[in-house]
């Protein structure tokens, strides 16, 4: 046993050094899915509700709005429910989960050598084009997420796992919308 660990030692050190230089490969998708499924179950088991991302973003937007134009928030029924009167938009679990997502994403990327400032894009477009697409796509996505009362995590994942009909219909609609447009955008991605 002792000789075994002795021979392993330099290998381990070497591997450690390699991590800093090149990124580790991603998990097998099914393994990643199992991990995500366990996190999703833990969320339901501990708190009674699932995961979410866009809800926290929403509260942050309203937080800024409330700071800039409190009167406006108090006059708009939809915003009033989040930040009207003495309500604090930060007093919501959605915000803290969102902070966790960012922290977890950062930590995991860092430990796996994937923390790097870069722009991922299709081979035929410039970074600037990619940024514009991300901005426009993000705006459409953000709008749609609120319209559908949830994003991919809050509706599709969480609602899907507890078998909500609306969440399943939503999920197929997301894939449908993306596949319907994918052909026309093929030059941007391939």
């Amino acid at each position: 046993m002792a000789t075994y660990t002795d021979t392993q030692k330099p290998v381990r050190a070497e591997r450690k050094a390699r991590v800093r230089r090149e990124a580790k490969p991603y998990f097998n998708p099914y393994l990643g899915g199992i991990l995500l499924g366990i996190v999703l179950f833990a969320a339901f088991f501990i708190t009674g509700s699932g995961l979410g991302a866009s809800g926290g973003m929403n509260n942050l937007v309203v937080l800024v709005e409330d700071a800039v134009a409190p009167g406006h928030v108090d006059r708009t029924p939809y915003l009033l429910g989040i930040a009207g009167g003495t309500k604090n938009p930060l007093d919501s679990w959605t915000v803290w989960m969102l902070v966790g997502v960012a922290a977890g994403g950062f930590g995991s990327a860092w430990l796996n050598g994937r923390l790097k400032v870069e722009t991922n894009r299709g081979p035929r477009i410039t970074p600037r084009t990619r940024w514009m697409m991300a901005l426009i796509g993000g705006a459409i996505m953000g709008y749609g997420a609120r319209l559908a009362r949830g994003c991919t995590s809050g509706q599709a994942l969480s609602g899907g796992a507890v078998l909500s009909v609306g969440s399943w219909a939503f999920m197929f609609a997301v894939f449908g919308g993306a596949y319907a447009l994918a052909y026309f955008l093929r030059k941007f991605w391939n």
Binding site: F41, Y78, G100, A103, G105, G142, C151, S158, A161, S167
Partner: protein, 410 residues
Amino acid sequence: MAPFPISLAQYLGHWGSYVVYLLIGIGFGIALEVSGFGDSRRLAAQFYFKDMTVLKVMFTAIVVAMVLIFGASAVGLLDYNLVWVNPTYLWPGIVGGLVMGVGFIIGGFCPGTSVVSAASGKVDGLFFVLGALVGIFAFGETVGLYENFWYSSYMGRFTLMDLFNANTGIIVVGVVLMALFMFWGSEQLEGIFGGKDVKAMPKWRYGAAGGLLALAVVVMVIGQPTAADHWARIAPQKEAQLAERAVQVHPGELLSLLYDSHVRVTMLDVRSESDYNLFHIEDARHVPLADLFDVVPELQAQPDNTVTIVMSNDETAATEAWRTLESYSVPNAYILEGGINNWIATFGEDEFSRISQSTSTDSLQYFFETALGSRYPASAPEARAIEGLEFPSKVELQIKRGPIGSGCGA
């Protein structure tokens, strides 16, 4: 049965409980990052059938969580009635989903993955997050223009079991089989469009698929606890509450709740239709005992600040109704103390005359010349009627599920 969900605020304090959500968020962020969801190309490849990671990860996560949730429910560790199930607003959901699909293929992310992407240094992820914030802002400003649509096709807590009128276990097994079929199809597509060697994919995935299916079958065989099973488990505690009169609410407390803007009150009047027509409290709904089951899904989907109060002429039928509500885990359910008779004695003694010598239980003790329903002053007493009344406060709002619904939802 262990209390479910754990009341975090009780142990950690109001703000302290958010630490738990922070930790869950960290787990969520890690799971997304290690799956490669920080890279927009990997996400977009899904829609060209080259790399089906998105579908594989999502559906694996859904079926794994589903089997664990219903497994925990089958053995009594978790109460599905208290789990937050996204309420169905069918058409806003479908239209919003299509819009999101368009945003997905243009922008290359969904909101959660864009946060992970931005946090791992990807500039396109950062732009997407900014865009999403703009879109969310735009929604808040424009939803007022079509609010009717946004609230349309509401179906409440509507599950696949309700849709197919099938047993939970069958649906669970069916969803697992569907997912496995989709995984098989995805791998074939990856072989054709992505040039991947399906044979080189790890063999352990067959074992995992078999294990998951076996677990789903076990969940089906055990079956989900019925309302009667649930009641059997909670009965000692609940009967003690009844005996201690911890859940019988004085008419004065009910009236003060009706005037409390922080609390929503749902009143269920379980008496006969004729008694209800003679007199009832304003806004009380007539739900005969036999029909109580039909309103349960609606009661379960109510916001957390809702108090449900059942009432009959005295307390007999109302107590029966309360037991039913408890067996379905309807949160914050109470009984009107002394029923409608006590309500009238408290707020309308001068208005009506008492029927003398009425001995039958749970019958109306007052005489009505006409059936005016709730058009009596005593049906909606003014707030000052509470003055001078003495009563203990028994209603305690218990937030039994994750506060205010889903992470993205309403």
